[in-house]
């Protein structure tokens, strides 16, 4: 699929690139200044990822790039040529929900829902990081390197600290993530 999105008028300040978003390749011609978050929302109509602060301070824009959770507001799309991006829209199979989405529903882990897509993508990243033995500030220093890290309440709170929730749905978010671990 191709989409000429957010093109600038100035020659020399645009670039062509390929991005694989939720399994589909897009050929894009973009102003060099455009952040991944804006490509997703404005260019591709994937409005699940939210813009909270636009400065890396809230986590509402969290998506997975090549399987790792990142803040899409601080990534220039032009630098991601060839990358694989997964947004909240691309987590489930077909119409089915991803287990993390199910857990958030089961635990009522949101109120207004604005931070939720970021919380969910971040949680997908957290589960993978913990399984691969990535430590956090809450991990026992004696925990053997590379061994899966059990997700206690403290671990979940620390690992998700980059996702703010203005509604304060934190207790239910922690419960949802604990159900998954």
């Amino acid at each position: 699929m191709s989409a000429g999105v957010l093109g600038s008028l100035e020659a020399g300040h645009t670039s062509s690139l390929r991005l694989r978003v939720n399994g589909e390749w897009y050929e894009l011609s973009l102003d060099n200044r455009v952040a991944l978050l804006d490509v997703l929302r404005e260019g591709l109509g994937l409005t699940g990822s939210k813009k909270g602060c636009d400065h890396g301070q809230c986590g509402a824009c969290t998506v997975l790039v090549d399987g790792r959770r990142v803040n899409s507001c601080l990534l220039l799309a032009v630098a991601l040529d060839g990358a694989r991006v997964t947004t909240v829209e691309g987590l489930g199979e077909g119409d089915g929900l991803h287990p993390v989405q199910e857990a958030f529903l089961d635990r009522d882990a949101f109120q207004c829902g604005y931070c939720t897509p970021g919380q969910i993508c971040s949680t997908v990243g957290v589960l993978e990081e913990a399984a691969q033995g990535y430590p956090s500030a809450a991990t026992d220093p004696d925990h053997p390197a590379g061994e899966p890290v059990p997700l206690t309440g403290d671990e979940i709170r620390e690992r998700l600290s980059g996702n703010l929730c203005r509604c304060g749905a934190y207790p239910n978010i922690v419960d949802a993530v604990r159900d998954l671990s």
Binding site: S8, E10, G12, H13, S15, D31, N32, R33, A35, D54, H55, G56, G59, T62, R68, R69, V70, N71, L74, L75, L76, V78, A79, D81, S122, G125, V126, E129, Q132, G133, Y134, P135, S136, A137, T139, P141, A145, G146, R157, E158, R159, L160, S161, G162, N163
Partner: protein, 328 residues
Amino acid sequence: MRTFTYVRAADAAEAARAHGGRDGSRYLAGGTNLVDLMKQGVETPDTLVDITRLPLDTVAEEADGALRIGALVRNSDLAAHPAVRVRHPAVSEALLAGASGQLRNAATTGGNLLQRTRCVYFQDLSMPCNKREPGTGCAAREGVHRDHAVLGHSPACVATHPSDLAVALAAADAEVQTTGPAGERVIPVAEFHRLPGELPERDTVLEPGEIITAVRLPAPLDGTRSTYRKVRDRASYAFALVSVAAQLTQRGDGAAEQVRIAFGGLAPRPWRARRAETELTGQALTEERVTAALDAELAAAEPLRDNVFKIGLARDLARTVLLGLTRP
């Protein structure tokens, strides 16, 4: 944001050529600081040289046990690296005490050392700031400066350097390896950031166009213990008010064979407490001796109106950390 030309470099030589040492050129690594500052109009490059595809993303062990950390190794991967966790816990802990999981997945080793100050006036184009716009004045000196420096500052600028990683690396006697117009250089991390003096716009000793290629972390002496502690306004996802990295090697009789202390949050660069280190080397680390050595170190502090608290906080934090390292 101002428009810019984008160049993707395959190796350091190509990156240096594209950069050309020009004022308007910037290297792009993880982008978590640079892109933020470009959005705010603080950074206005006309050319962005993307270095993320340079082959500098691995940690290699050298023959003497030192670790050579590529400049593009991501903060999360470095914190998780088994050799770093086991031999340099302070480095792993410092990384994990910084930013968030998402940011650490993007942020790089080189970019972390080169991040700019978090002084609010530096990011606010409507305010005077000598670091952002030389000669305009310093809004922080008489303004909001609770987070600012108590050591090493100058009339021109009272900002601190915000990196947690740099503090742990300074305590470990790590070195920055670079390549640039003058060839390859090795710079101790503790001397990599400049004190502002009359030139607060220059954060580090890097020359225009010079690239960080790696950080070399020397092997600690046998039996060395190290740790990093950070005090901040909330438990996670916040910059340091004060932090300390300490590394201690004890002799059989318990006296300190080698002790290294670096403070974060106090100065425009990681503050190696050399005076306290000298006073404590060869001594048993008793509470009184440690307190006296830290007081002597911090006697040079010149706090601002609203950050006097940092001095006592730094002393108490470092004392707790050092005494903690004496106990297995």
